[in-house]
């Protein structure tokens, strides 16, 4: 109302010269000094567009809608299927990879190594030289996993006959898939493609996948939100630590696997394989996150981030309003801790679809749940709590399905709002493994990285254009 300002003393938000806030505070009046820095990466033009979206009723309503769909998602693992059978649009000569689309000529070392391995695995070439010729010739169609309802860690390379977890969201009827985890060391997703790698992949397809398929047929769908929630209470953050979730999954699978009539040798080998890999669950975590986030896709005017993914060259994000469009920036080198004998100079750029975990409010966003790995964020449990709190600044809300004991069971922040990132300068943190820059060496460390600001600035500008293009007043 006109003149409201003259009724009583104003409560002041101070932005800029700190001394002005001090003077107000000394007089005993209400004031808050904002820890301000130029928004939208310092671009005046983008900053103006961002301003027009702040407290914009259409965006607020769209975000509520998208976030509710995300919260309502009920992902459960229902089976195992071949990529060619279960992924929409998957071609017989298609190879999918992590992150935004990238051609053979631009792929990083680990991704190229994985592609060559996948060609050998599929039997499209007999040796690496022939595989390379095929990749270079244009005889393979490359595309982003995300474009086909899939996600993959590290290089994310997925070829037609690979077995995938099928995760269905009963609440909205959508599904998401991800491959079976090979373990650490010399594995395809890090670009290794030697005979032992191909051999392991073939056994996973011909042995492990069958055991899992029969076990799941016997058990019926396994709900993943309760399993992840339980794992968070056991010290996982469901990205860089999956030790608890892997154990819980194995516990769920053993009785039905034994009942299923599967070959006991295969069963024994399969469980030994899963038990030997504390990260086995990560692909299921990722598929669950993808299923939840895909439910929030396609809400016009929503600034909610629906994917963050890296292809080893670029870091890309997508938002609900802008569909399959990628907003990209050069992928960072991860600041982290390295295994003995390796250092930053050996590291590939940030790679993998696994940042879908952070997009869904897990991983770095749930850092407070995982004291065992807080060293990556600086060392103390306090810093892990601070990291989770920091992420709450940039989310639409919290996910009551995932609670954090150390925060008195507060819900984990979830639903990144691209506007809040651009406005605050607080970048989403991502817990991640670090790949060697050369194909096939494998993981050489782990740490945290941050999604680049430029991605969010582009997303905000695209949303601004969408509102302006509607010919509607953003108000």
């Amino acid at each position: 109302m006109i003149g409201d300002i003259l009724k009583g003393a104003p409560a002041v938000l101070n932005l800029g010269v700190g001394a002005f806030a001090e003077a107000i505070g000394e007089g005993g009046d209400a004031v808050l000094d904002i820890d301000w820095r130029p928004p939208a990466g310092g671009s005046r033009e983008a900053g103006m567009e961002l301003a027009s979206l702040v407290n914009c009723p259409r965006v607020e309503a769209a975000n509520r809608d998208a976030f509710e769909r995300f919260l309502a998602a009920d992902p459960a693992v229902t089976g195992i299927g071949s990529a060619i059978d279960v992924l929409p649009g998957m071609g017989a000569r298609t190879i999918l990879h992590a992150g935004a689309p990238v051609g053979w000529e631009d792929m990083c070392g680990p991704m190229r190594g994985a592609v060559l391995g996948a060609i050998l695995f599929e039997g499209w070439a007999d040796d690496l030289g022939a595989a390379r010729s095929l990749a270079e010739s244009g005889g393979i169609e490359f595309d982003s996993c995300h474009h086909h309802g899939a996600v993959g860690p590290m290089s994310g390379v997925t070829s037609p006959s690979m077995p995938l977890w099928i995760v269905e969201n009963a609440a909205a009827g959508n599904a998401a898939c991800s491959g079976l985890n090979e373990g650490l060391g010399k594995v395809l997703r890090f670009g290794a493609n030697g005979p032992e790698v191909i051999e392991r992949l073939r056994w996973m397809r011909d042995g492990l996948a069958g055991v899992l398929r029969r076990a799941l047929g016997e058990s019926g769908p396994i709900a993943l939100k309760p399993l992840i929630a339980q794992a968070l209470h056991m010290g996982d953050e469901a990205h860089n630590r999956n030790a608890a979730a892997t154990s819980l999954l194995i516990k769920r699978l053993i009785p039905p696997a034994l009942r299923s009539g599967a070959d006991p040798d295969h069963v024994a080998r399969s469980f030994a394989f899963m038990a030997g890999n504390d990260h086995f669950f990560i692909n299921l975590s990722m598929a669950a996150c993808k299923a939840m986030l895909d439910a929030a896709r396609g809400v016009p005017f929503s600034s909610m981030v629906t994917a963050m993914a890296r292809n080893g060259v670029e870091f890309g994000i997508q938002t609900s309003a802008t569909g399959d469009r990628w907003f990209t920036a050069p992928a960072p080198i991860v600041d982290g801790l390295y295994f003995s004998g390796f250092g930053k100079a050996d590291a590939a750029r940030d790679i993998g679809d696994s940042a879908i975990a952070e997009t869904a409010g897990l991983g770095g966003f749930a850092m407070a749940a995982a004291p065992a790995i807080v060293r990556f964020v600086g060392g103390s449990a306090g810093e892990a709590v601070a990291a989770t709190r920091e992420m709450r600044r940039i989310t639409i809300g919290e996910n009551p399905a995932f609670t954090l004991p150390i925060l008195d069971f507060a819900a984990a922040p979830a639903g990144i709002d691209a506007r809040k990132v651009a406005d605050s300068g607080v970048l989403p943190i991502v817990n991640t493994g670090i790949a060697h820059r050369d194909a096939g060496v494998g993981q050489i460390g782990a740490g945290i990285t941050a999604a680049p600001m430029a991605c969010f600035v582009q997303a905000v500008r695209a949303l601004h254009r969408e509102l302006a293009g509607e010919g509607s007043d953003p108000a």
């Binding site: 109302m1 006109i2 003149g3 409201d4 300002i5 003259l6 003393a9 104003p10 409560a11 002041v12 938000l13 932005l15 800029g16 010269v17 002005f20 003077a23 107000i24 007089g27 209400a30 004031v31 808050l32 904002i34 820890d35 301000w36 820095r37 130029p38 928004p39 005046r44 900053g47 103006m48 301003a51 702040v54 407290n55 650490l184 060391g185 801790l337 295994f339 003995s340 004998g341 065992a372 790995i373 060293r375 990556f376 060392g379 103390s380 449990a381 306090g382 810093e383 709590v385 601070a386 709190r389 920091e390 809040k420 406005d423 605050s424 300068g425 607080v426 460390g445 782990a446 108000a475």
Partner: protein, 498 residues
């Protein structure tokens, strides 16, 4: 290269702790490579070379193996001693969980809305290129906005004020140096007594002068609303001034209204005077440097200077400047060095009728424009102008440039009077008198004349500053207009007394 190992049986540490331990060892001079791991078969394979050294020890998955490699075995032994100490000590607790409990400071207006319940006004003093966006956010969040920042394009100002009108909010500024709302000082404000006079001003120092003089006369301020220097221009059309007048009209705590501005656009001035007529309370209009409006509404009285405006509003007479002023024999030139733009302008309007033409970077007559003191003529410079402040602090904060110009002016044989404004309050220099005193004491021939804009409650304390400046030899007047009148008399050779 030699390898030394340390094996601790049955001791578990997580891999991240061990990576940090290895990194610490590798950082020691003389250690070429270090590794630390639980001695699982997979880890031993990865630690080729180092793992082999432990082969004879038959290490297993529950044993912790540390290996260091280097030329000097003593260095390696020392490194392993440190490793053992680190393993014994565990890890020193860093920030506790409780320590992280304090919520972080908000980074944006939107975020701050939740952190300060009842937030109603945004005080924006970020760099000008970002100020428009922040003010737009404030309006969209339902806040009133004061924009202290300058260098905001006039088109942005028009757009912001239009948006504010549409939303029923108030935008003060851009380039709004000061305001007092509900007793809360905003920006460069002085601690003035609360009272019944409401002020609307397009000039920051003009508002400071009027509010401080009203305080000095024993009256007080209900609200002082800044509008920004361009509000009364034809482009902006007085949007904020008109809204502020309407607000003060409806404010029960305001009994008298004062309007302060440099000369406004003619059409805008008429509109503003119409609005002043509608306030329904006694009003004073002070358009510094403008010819007094021919027809004034019945409730409005015109004041030529800020001290006159303050006196009319407080129901008092303008205090006397005093009869005697010092003499500056054989000297006739006036040099004014100001930190406040309105003070510079007001001093010209006061001194020009006495002395004639005065050169300035902000002259009454565009033909008298200069960008420095060329010597040989009366000159008044606004050192707060962008041209002087680019890349350095404002002259209200940094007296360096003024001290240098005082010395230069003093060295000219024709300089009779050096006229200075001193501004106190939030954001101003913490002890201006101390900064100025040596240069004033050193004057030999010219007379320093000045005024102090401030109150007893200001951190610098008005009476203390005035006493210190008098002690140094300055003729201290009660107002800027008064100081200009005295300085003009000195330069005109009308001085008397000692």
């Amino acid at each position: 290269m030699a390898v030394e190992t340390l094996l601790r049986r049955g001791l578990y540490r997580d891999s991240v702790s061990l990576m940090r331990l290895a990194a610490a060892l590798e950082a020691r001079p003389g250690v070429a490579r270090a590794s630390a791991a639980m001695a699982t078969p997979a880890n031993l394979e990865m630690l080729t070379g180092h793992g082999a050294a432990a082969d004879g020890a038959e290490a297993g998955a529950n044993d912790l193996l540390i290996a260091v490699e280097g030329e000097d075995r003593d260095v390696l032994a020392a490194a392993l001693d440190e490793a053992a100490a680190l393993l014994e000590g565990g890890d020193a607790p860093a920030a506790s969980v409780a320590g992280a409990a304090a919520p972080p400071r908000p980074r944006s207006l939107a975020e701050a809305m939740d952190a300060l319940p009842g937030a109603s006004l945004a005080l924006i003093s970020c760099p000008g290129e970002y100020a428009t966006a922040e003010a737009m956010k404030a309006l969209r969040l339902g806040l009133d906005a004061m924009i202290f920042s300058d260098n905001v394009p006039v088109a942005d100002e028009v757009a912001l004020k239009r948006e504010a009108e549409a939303r029923g909010r108030l935008v003060m500024g851009p380039d709004c140096g000061t305001a007092i709302v509900g007793g809360v000082p905003l920006g460069f404000a002085n601690r003035v007594r609360r009272g019944t006079v409401g002020v609307v001003g397009a000039s920051g120092t003009g508002i400071q002068q009027v509010t401080c003089l009203i305080d000095r006369l024993g009256a007080g301020i209900s609200h002082a609303i800044g509008t920004g220097g361009r509000d009364l221009s034809a482009e902006v059309g007085g949007t904020t001034t008109l809204r502020a007048l309407a607000m003060l009209a409806g404010d029960a705590g305001t009994e008298t209204v004062v309007l302060v501005s440099k000369p406004p656009d003619d059409a805008v001035m008429r509109r503003v005077l119409d609005a002043a007529a509608g306030v329904g309370k006694p009003a004073v209009a002070c358009f510094v440097g403008a010819d007094p409006p021919r027809e004034l509404p019945a409730n409005v009285r015109a004041a030529a200077t800020l001290d006159e405006a303050a006196a009319l509003a407080a129901g008092a007479a303008v205090p006397s400047d005093g009869a005697d002023v010092p003499r500056a024999a054989g000297r006739s030139r006036l040099v004014g060095l100001f930190s406040g733009g309105t003070f510079c302008y007001e001093a010209q309007t006061v001194a020009t009728p006495v002395l004639g033409r005065i050169l300035s970077n902000a002259p009454l007559d565009p033909g008298d424009a200069v960008d420095r003191d060329p010597g040989g003529a009366h000159v008044m410079l606004d050192l707060g102008d962008d041209a002087f402040t680019r890349g350095r602090p404002h002259p209200m904060i940094d007296y360096g440039p003024r001290l240098e110009r005082i010395r230069n002016a003093a060295s000219a044989p024709d300089t009779a009077a050096i006229l200075i404004d001193v501004v106190l309050g939030t954001g101003a220099h913490e002890d201006p008198a101390a900064a100025l005193a040596p240069a004033i004491r050193a004057l030999d021939g010219p007379v320093a004349v000045g005024s102090v804009c401030g109150t007893e409650a200001d951190p610098q304390c008005l009476s203390r500053q005035e006493a210190a400046l008098r002690e140094a030899g300055m003729v201290v007047a009660g107002s800027n207009a008064g100081a200009a009148r005295i300085a003009a008399r000195i330069a005109a050779g009308a001085g008397g007394g000692p």
